[in-house]
């Protein structure tokens, strides 16, 4: 690892030094292709973020791919119902590694205003590993851009070796998650226990 001070000194002289890790992460963090996948209201704000005023292409993510096979990022934009949840998980499984998830809006985080409904999944993090949560109902396009920048920072900071390395460089970890079934009363299973645990209920004494 090169010394930061020396690196800055060299940069002043016009010599740019980098490591493979930085170069690799710089490349992939600046061309995150989202899946064009809208569920509900938040999808409209997601579209607005890709349009002229907010212009997500400034951050390298304007290429919305209709096929999960070509996408790096799933923006879960909207309410995930129990009928739709199996398809969402299946789409995630079909995406190639490395892949990331942004949960956009209150519904995707927790069920939001529709949480009490019988057909609404109470947060996509019960089935998928979510990297970034964006609160709001719906979040503004700026919030989506902020989430994207946060994701880029996260990608840029991922070490390529060692135990903390991302999943796609670690053959021992699978990037596929079990797809729930739309059962007669609820999803079967209702959550992925390896991913999500109910918060312990603390009663004030």
């Amino acid at each position: 690892m090169i010394d930061e001070g020396l690196k800055n000194e060299l940069a002043k002289q016009g010599v740019f030094v980098t490591s493979v890790q930085e170069l690799y992460n710089w490349g992939r963090s600046n061309s995150v292709w989202p899946l064009s996948f809208g569920l509900a209201c938040c999808a409209i704000e997601m579209m607005a973020a890709s349009m002229a005023r907010f212009d997500i292409s400034r951050f390298g993510s304007e290429v919305f791919r209709p096929s999960p096979r070509q996408a790096d990022l799933m923006i879960v934009a909207g309410t995930v119902t129990k009928k739709m949840a199996p398809q969402v998980v299946r789409l995630y499984n079909q995406m190639p590694e490395p892949k990331y998830v942004i949960a956009m809006g209150a519904c995707a985080i927790s069920g939001g205003p529709f949480k009490q409904g019988y057909n609404v999944l109470k947060g996509i993090d019960r089935f998928l590993p979510v990297d970034i949560h964006i609160p709001g109902c719906p979040p503004r396009p700026e919030a989506l851009l902020h989430a994207l920048i946060t994701l880029q920072e996260k990608i840029a900071g991922q070490p390529l070796t060692g135990p903390e390395r991302p999943r796609h460089l670690n053959a021992a970890v699978s990037g596929e998650y079990p797809v729930p079934e739309f059962g007669p009363h609820d999803l079967q299973p209702p959550r992925n226990d390896g991913l999500w645990k109910p918060l312990p209920l603390v009663r004030p004494t």
Partner: protein
């Protein structure tokens, strides 16, 4: 089609053009729920003979969010934010339809200025919705990006107005029973005047680029035609009904609010095809701009909410009411039964885009699969409203 692992299906049509059966077979294609053309999570199970649709089964429910059941358990006012999320392109007209019904139920009067603010916000909603629908329709036809970019550019200006009035871009939650939540801030009406004055320029540009475009004409004229009788029997409303030539607009029929004070015309189509629906939406934007100009000239000062209206402890007397208005998609109706309690006993929505969808199969039969996408785009569905 011979390669290792090729599916054992034939893409040859089953029926020859003269109707005789031949060696091909029917093919079932499932479009959606994740499909770039379905405007949300909507699925169509299409059965194809060669490339022609012989059967098309819509499958919904992927966005069923229990709106009605939740609203029956919540107080009357607490259901207002849910109506925003019903048709998330046009939250203000959904608000108005609900407020109209509750006012009918509770017998509340709306002050003059509030009525004007309602008309202004509803017509602004209509122009941004129609502009976006035309953009989406063209996107479905393969004009990737540009028309939708133009439409969203104009939509952002309208959303800026909504934001400065209500505090939110999309989920405005602006109306209250018997009036509006807050008065227009200083300079807001001038800002609306600016947008209204500039909007025709966008429309002229949009039309110059598109309305006589040869590709657009070829893809839309004569596609998905619905006759007037079919449209009435299918219960179509809104631009689809008027494209079939029926002069039925609730702004003229019911004259709810203060629509009897404005001069505007109802554009009508002749053929009921996709092109007529597109043109009707463009012409309706121009008529809405006329309404806005008149409303902005004559808006009076005064209170914005009925002093009798109670925000807390609101319990309308027992009874039932059906309120409806012309939302950008068609007739949006709310049916409420009150038992005198703080929450409605029954809460039911007549969503226009759901009922307009019932004729989808009739429009698509015999057309190639590529036209299904265009026809669906012209119906203007919003899944939040279809599935509720």
């Amino acid at each position: 089609m011979s390669y290792p692992g090729a599916p054992a299906i034939s893409f040859q049509p089953r029926y020859a053009p003269d109707g005789t059966e031949q060696d091909g077979e029917l093919l079932e294609v499932s479009l959606g729920p994740q499909h770039p053309s379905t405007h949300g999570v909507f699925r169509m199970d299409a059965t194809l003979d060669g490339e022609k649709v012989v059967r098309l089964k819509p499958v919904f429910g992927y966005l069923h969010r229990n709106h009605e059941k939740i609203a029956e358990g919540a107080s009357y006012l607490a259901a207002m934010p849910y109506t925003d999320r019903l048709d998330y392109f046009c939250s203000l007209t959904s608000n108005w339809a609900y407020a109209l019904t509750v006012e009918k139920l509770a017998g509340l009067a709306v002050p003059e200025r509030a009525e004007y603010l309602r008309v202004i916000t509803a017509e602004l909603t209509r122009i941004q919705n129609h502009a976006c629908v035309c953009g989406f329709l063209l996107q479905d036809m393969g004009a990737l990006g540009t028309p939708l970019m133009y439409a969203f550019r104009e939509r952002e200006r309208v959303l800026d107005l909504f934001e400065s009035l209500t505090g939110a871009r999309m989920m405005c939650n602006y109306l209250r029973f018997g009036g509006c939540r807050c008065d227009a801030p200083a300079g807001w009406l001038d800002a609306v005047r600016g947008v209204v004055a500039e909007f025709p320029r966008f429309l002229d540009e949009f039309e110059a680029l598109l309305s006589n475009n040869e590709i657009l004409l070829a893809r839309t004229q004569g596609i998905g035609a619905v006759s007037a009788a079919q449209a009435i029997n299918g219960g179509l409303t809104g631009p689809l009904l008027r494209a079939a030539g029926i002069n039925y607009d609730l702004r003229k029929v019911d004259r709810y609010g203060i629509y009897d004070r404005f001069e505007f015309r109802i554009p009508l189509g002749e053929h009921g095809d996709v092109f007529d629906r597109y043109m009707i939406r463009v012409l309706e934007i121009r008529e809405s701009l006329k309404i806005l100009e008149q409303a902005l000239k004559t808006i009076p000062d005064g209170p914005i909410i009925d002093p009798k209206a109670k925000l807390r402890g609101f319990r309308p007397k027992a009874g039932e009411a059906y309120g409806r208005l012309e939302s950008p998609k068609g007739e949006l109706g709310f049916y409420l039964i009150s038992d005198g309690g703080p929450n409605p006993y029954r809460y039911r929505i007549r969503p226009p885009s759901f009922i307009n969808l019932t004729l989808l199969e009739d429009m698509c039969l015999g057309r190639p699969l590529a036209d299904v996408v265009v026809i669906l785009g012209s119906i203007d569905i919003v899944m939040g409203e279809v599935d509720r």
